[in-house]
Symmetry: C2
DNA sequence: ATTTTATAGAAATATTATTCCTTAAAAATT
DNA sequence: AATTTTTAAGGAATAATATTTCTATAAAAT
């Protein structure tokens, strides 16, 4: 763990967050370093877990997934059993991209969900979400547009 | 646009959503196809825009970014000018990972924000968010934990 | 000033991507 | 049903890239 990121590391992370499949040679050129030390730095940050992984981002619309929603969920009891059961059930549903335990609302969880259309949403709600033990309330906010949708964190 | 994804395409997308930097040879092996047609398929889906791009996902905690929040924003007027001004202002703030225009709440926008700590959050709120023209209300939900946090869409 | 440590750069080698060509299978036409 | 057309797979050669190893250099510590 040789913490503290210098300029090179920051530029590497900035670049990889935008172009995850850039070649090491192009990356090295972009940050003005030769390929060997550039690759060494990348590998070390991967080792350290600073870089969690690499993923392809798909176009939801082109896949026919046109409806995104945020769903607030209220629970009857706030016991670990209830929470764990809900979390592991949701983990098996591909519609659920995110599940956050939150403060500050009547809701306990906030979900981000992507489905094909309103019909699929209804199915998800009726057949999956509301059938989970302990779920007492559900509040849906549909997404009309997402002017910002990034995965890039600030490394400075 | 030769739509309709066959099994090979689905497997490619599934794999690339998990391992965005897998080599073409390993990918080909994983889906039981030889490297040439495998690469052809990947390139075509990139061309079609089905694959939006590739990114490295960083570990927020290890970067010192320990606080995630969802923020509901209410606006005074629902005019295009107000919306555009807010959106372009927020686009310049690296703390803001997502911005969604939503239905179903008193809020008009839902933001996903990641900052270093509560102090940084307060700065963001006071110096940035609440200074934007037209913002009348702000409601924050802090994230305690995120048992599910994925970018992978279902391709079946 | 000298040793130690850390990191850059160069070059050789191994691996991978890419292109081009051939072949096979499926679809369409007669 | 046979033939043509289209589509996509597989193989092999080539180009590009990653990876390793070694050397040199610069910074830090003694």
């Amino acid at each position: 763990m040789s913490n503290k990121l210098d300029r090179y590391d920051q530029m590497i992370l900035d670049t990889l967050q935008k172009q995850g499949r850039i070649t090491n040679q192009e990356l090295a050129e972009a940050i003005k370093l030769s390929p060997s030390p550039c690759l060494r730095r990348v590998r070390q940050m991967e080792e350290e877990g600073l870089i969690d992984g690499y993923v392809a981002l798909l176009n939801a619309k082109k896949l026919g997934l046109t409806l995104m929603a945020f769903i607030g969920i209220s629970m009857d009891k706030h016991t670990p059993e209830r929470f764990e059961a809900l979390e592991s059930t949701l983990a098996d549903y591909p519609e659920v991209l995110e599940c956050h335990l939150i403060t500050g609302q009547s809701a306990d969880y906030l979900l981000k969900v992507i489905v094909k259309d309103m019909d699929a949403y209804q199915q998800f709600l009726l057949n999956k979400l509301t059938r989970i033990e302990g779920v007492t309330g559900v509040h849906t906010s549909f997404v009309m547009k997402s002017p910002i949708n990034s995965t890039a964190l600030s490394v400075t």
